[in-house]
Subunit: 500 residues, 2 copies
C-alpha cells in the first residue's frame, strides 16, 4: 500500500508538513480510461457513490442493466471512507460494523472479509490508562469499569420512557412504522427536552460523562436533535448498553471502509456494464416522462437514462434542480436538513501509555470525547475524537489547526500530538453534515415522503432507509432495496407484450 | 389460497379423513412446461431446492449464468417448508427468523416481506393458560414467568463453562474458527456429558423443564448431540436467554416459509435462465475434469454442466455416487450423519383456552414440548410440538397416528385434537434428519472438509455453513457464498485471454 493515491477530501497535519489538504485513500477512482459514451442512453443513472449508490450500481449491473455512476467527489464511499497512511487506516466517517447489521454483514461474507474484522480497542479493552472526565474544570479520574457503570446508569434513565427501556415504543426496531403514535410522541422531543425531563435524576458526573458520550451518537446541538433517534438506535442495538457498545463502537475493518466500498465498486465494474464520471457534481435532473437527462454543474455534459437513482445526502438534495420540481415535503426536509454536524478527528500521539485512554471534555471542549483506537505503524497511539456541536464550541479544524491540537492536549496534560487526520463534515459541500440525525418532528413528518419515487427518479439513502438508518448498513439496505425496484420495473417494460 | 396444490410430503390427520399422506403447500412446483434441453450443457447444475440451492440458483441466474436445478421432491424448500391449509400455515421445518439473522433478513427486505412477520404466540405472550411440567408422573403447574425463570436458571448453569457464559469460548459467533482450541474442548462433550457435569446443581424441576426445552434445540439422543453446538447457538443468540427466545422462537412469516422460498425461486425463473427437474433424485455425479455429468436415479436422464453445486443434506450426501469418489472425510461425515431426528408435529385443538399453553413432558413423553402457536381459521388453538428422540420414546406418527394423538392428550387432560399435521424428518429419505446438530467431535473433525470443493463440484448447505449453521439463515448464507465463488470462477474462464 505504499502508493495509495490521494483524494482531495480530508486533511492531514504533521509537525513536518503542517496542514495539508487531501489524504491517501483506497477509495480514489482514477478517471475512466474509456471515454464516456455521451450519446448513450443508459438503463439507469446513479447519482452518488456512497454505499447506497455503490450497492445500487452493483446490484443493477450484475442483473444486466447498463448503469452510469455520477459522483461529485474524486472517490467512492461518500460519508464512509478511510485514509490509508503508511498502511494504517484512519476512518473518516462510518466505521463500525457488526453481525447484527444484516446488510453490511452480507457484503462482508460476499467478499470474504469477515476475518478482517478487528476489535476497535476502545477504553476498557486494556488496563493501564484511566478515563478522565472534565467536570466544570475539575478533572475526575475513573476506571473504565466505573465509566461504563456511570454511562449505563445515565443512559438508562435517559432512555427509560416507558418502564421497559423503550421496548413498548419500538417493539420492532426494523419497522418503526408499526407504532407511529409512539414515534410521534418521542420525535417531538429534542435531546435538550429529554435532558430537562431527567436532569434531576442525574448526578453531575453522570451528566457530563454521558453528555460526552452522546456526542458520538447525534453530533448536533441538543435542541436540534430528535430524542426519538436515540430511542431508535437503542432499540436497534438490542435495548441494552452492552450491546450498544458492542454493535456501535467495537468492530472495524482491518483495511478500512474504503476497502469494502472498493469491492462493491469493482464487482460492478467487472460486469462491463458500469460507466462512471467522478468529480462531476450534478446541477440538474430533468425527467421528461420517458427518460432522465442529467446535467453536470461544471461544463455542459449531459447524461441520459431510463431511470435515475438519486443517493445524495438529505442535506444536499435541495442543491440539485429537479424538473418537474420535487414535492414540497422532500424539498422542505432537505432545506431543513438533519442536524449532525460532527467533525471526526484522529490523532497519532507519541504516548503508548494512552493506548486505552478514554476521556471526555463536556460541555466545554471543542472535542467532547476521545478514546484509544489502535497502535500506528510507528508504535504510537491512535486516538479518535469527535468534535463538539455545542454553540460556541464548534470545531472547524482546517481554519486553525492549533485549536484542534490544543483540544487533544486538553484531554490529557501529557498528550504529544504527532499527526492529525480529519474530515470536517460540517464544511463538506457534498455532505453538509455527518451521519443522519433528524431534528425533532422530522421522522414523523418527512420520512415516508423522502422514500417516495418522483416520476422516473428513485431515492436511496442511509438518511431515509429502513432498519439501520444513519448507518453503513442502512445505506447498503436502501441501495439494494431500490435497485430491486428499478430492475423489476425496467424488466417489466422489456417483456414482450405476449408475456404481459 | 383455496386451491393450494398438494405435495407428496407431510401428513395430515383429521377425524373425518383419517391419516392422509401429502399436504398442500405453496412450495409445490408443477412440472416445467418447456421440455428440458437434455442436450444442453448448462453453466451450473444445482442439486437440491432448499434455501441453499434456491439462493444459489437465484444468484447465479441473476448474474447471467444458465442453471439447471435438480430436486428429488415435488416441491421447493427442503427442510424449511409450510403447509397451507384453509389459508393457515403450518411450518413443517425451519420456521422462525429474526433481524439478527443477516442473510434471511436481507431476503425479507428484498421481497418486501418484513411487514409479514408475525409473533409466534408462545407461552408467556398471553395470560390464561399455565405451563405444565411432568415431573416423574406428577404434573406441576407453573406460570409462564416461573417457567422462564426456571429454564433461564438451568440454561445458564448448563452453558456457563467459563464464568462468562461462553463468551471466552466463542468470542465471535460468526467465526468460531478463531478459537479452535475452545471449539475442540467442548465439541468433545455430548449433551449427556455436560448434564452429568452440572446435574448436581439442577433441581428436578429445572432438569425436566429444561430437558423438554432442549428438545427444541437438538432433537437427538443426548449421548449423540455435541454440547458445543448448544454453546454456538447460545453465542449466536447473543449469550442470553431473552434473546435466545426472541431470535430462536418468536417471529414467523404470515404465509409460511414456502412463500419466501417461492419468491427466491420465482426470481430465478424470471431471469429466463433457470431450467429445472423436480421429482428427480440424483444417482450419480461424475466430474470428467472438464464438465459434470449427473445421472438421475429413476431412468437414464443425464444432465451436463460446467460446474455443480451440491446442496443435499449432510445425511444424504453419501447416497449419491461421486466419481472421482468424495474425499474420505466428506464421506465419513455423511455416513455418520448429524444427530437430529426430531419430528415436528402440529395439532389443531378445539380448546381456545389453550392459546397460550406451554407444556413439557420430559423425559417420558413421545412429544417432549408443546406450545400455543396461533389461532386457526376455525377459531381453534394451534399447538406445535416436538417429538422425543430419547431411546424408547421416538415417535413415528405415520405408523400409528393414535400414539401422536395420545401424546398431545398427555400434555393436558382436556385436549381435544381436531387435526394433526406433521413431517417426520426421521423417516424422510431426502433429509434423513431434521436441522443439523452434529455429534460430538464432528465440528472439529469434519466441518472444514465439508465446505471444500471437490473438483468441479461445490458444496453449499446450512449443515456446514458459517454463521447460523443449522438455520434458514445459514442455508441462504452458504448458497450466496458458493454462488459467488462459482460465478467468479466461470467468469474468469470466460474472459478473453488478453484480459488475463
Amino acid at each position: 500500500m505504499a502508493n495509495v493515491p490521494k483524494s482531495r477530501d480530508g486533511y492531514q497535519w504533521t509537525p513536518a508538513t503542517g496542514l495539508v489538504q487531501g489524504v491517501p485513500t483506497l477509495g480514489l477512482v482514477q478517471p475512466s480510461k474509456k471515454g464516456l459514451k455521451n450519446s448513450k442512453r443508459y438503463d439507469v443513472v446513479v447519482v452518488g457513490a456512497g454505499y447506497a449508490g455503490l450497492t445500487t450500481c452493483r446490484d443493477l449491473t450484475v442483473a444486466g442493466n447498463s448503469v452510469l455512476l455520477i459522483e461529485a467527489r474524486d472517490r467512492i464511499g461518500g460519508r464512509s471512507w478511510s485514509s490509508n497512511i503508511d498502511g494504517y487506516p484512519y476512518e473518516l466517517g462510518g466505521t463500525w460494523v457488526h453481525w447484527h447489521q444484516p446488510f453490511v454483514w452480507r457484503e462482508l461474507r460476499r467478499y470474504g472479509m469477515i476475518d478482517q474484522l478487528e476489535v476497535s480497542p476502545r477504553p476498557g479493552m486494556e488496563g493501564g490508562s484511566r478515563v478522565t472526565v472534565n467536570l466544570d474544570g475539575k478533572v475526575v479520574s475513573l476506571s473504565h469499569d466505573e465509566e461504563s457503570e456511570i454511562v449505563e446508569s445515565a443512559f438508562k434513565k435517559f432512555i427509560n420512557v416507558d418502564g421497559v427501556l423503550g421496548r413498548s415504543v419500538i417493539p420492532y426496531p426494523h419497522d418503526i412504522e408499526l407504532n407511529m403514535a409512539g414515534v410521534k410522541k418521542y420525535d417531538q422531543l429534542s435531546m435538550a427536552d429529554r435532558m430537562a425531563q431527567v436532569e434531576s435524576q442525574l448526578t453531575p458526573l453522570e451528566k457530563n460523562t454521558f453528555g460526552g458520550f452522546l456526542a458520538i451518537t447525534h453530533g448536533a446541538k441538543w435542541e436540534e436533535a430528535s430524542f426519538f433517534e436515540l430511542l431508535r438506535w437503542w432499540a436497534l442495538m438490542n435495548y441494552n448498553y452492552t450491546d450498544f457498545m458492542a454493535i456501535g463502537l467495537t468492530y472495524k475493518l482491518r483495511d478500512g471502509q474504503s476497502a469494502l466500498a472498493r469491492r462493491i465498486f469493482d464487482e460492478a465494474i467487472d460486469t462491463g456494464r458500469l460507466d462512471y464520471s467522478f468529480s462531476t457534481p450534478v446541477k440538474s435532473v430533468h425527467d421528461n416522462g420517458s427518460h432522465i437527462v442529467i446535467t453536470a454543474r461544471n461544463g455542459d455534459a449531459t447524461f441520459e437514462a431510463r431511470r435515475a437513482v438519486c443517493t445524495v445526502p438529505l442535506n444536499v438534495l435541495h442543491t440539485i434542480a429537479f424538473t418537474p420540481a420535487l414535492p414540497s415535503l422532500k424539498r422542505e426536509a432537505s432545506m431543513m436538513g438533519h442536524a449532525n454536524q460532527v467533525v471526526k478527528c484522529h490523532a497519532e500521539v507519541a504516548n503508548p501509555e494512552m493506548r486505552s485512554l478514554g476521556a471526555t471534555n463536556f460541555p466545554r471542549g471543542k472535542l467532547t470525547y476521545t478514546f484509544g483506537d489502535g497502535t500506528t505503524p510507528a508504535g504510537h497511539t491512535h486516538l479518535v475524537a469527535f468534535g463538539s456541536s455545542l454553540p460556541g464550541a464548534h470545531l472547524d479544524p482546517e481554519k486553525d489547526i492549533s485549536v484542534t491540537k490544543q483540544a487533544f492536549e486538553a484531554f490529557h496534560p501529557d498528550m504529544k500530538v504527532q499527526r492529525l487526520v480529519f474530515h470536517n463534515w460540517h464544511q463538506d459541500e457534498f455532505a453538509r453534515g455527518a451521519w443522519e440525525w433528524l431534528r425533532p418532528g422530522m421522522t414523523t413528518k418527512y420520512l415516508e415522503a423522502l422514500r417516495k419515487r418522483h416520476g422516473n427518479v428513485f431515492f436511496a439513502s442511509s438518511d431515509s432507509s429502513f432498519g439501520w438508518r444513519g448507518f453503513i448498513d442502512g445505506a447498503i439496505d436502501d441501495g439494494g432495496r431500490v435497485a430491486k425496484m428499478v430492475h423489476d420495473e425496467l424488466k417489466m417494460r422489456d417483456l414482450p407484450r405476449s408475456r404481459l
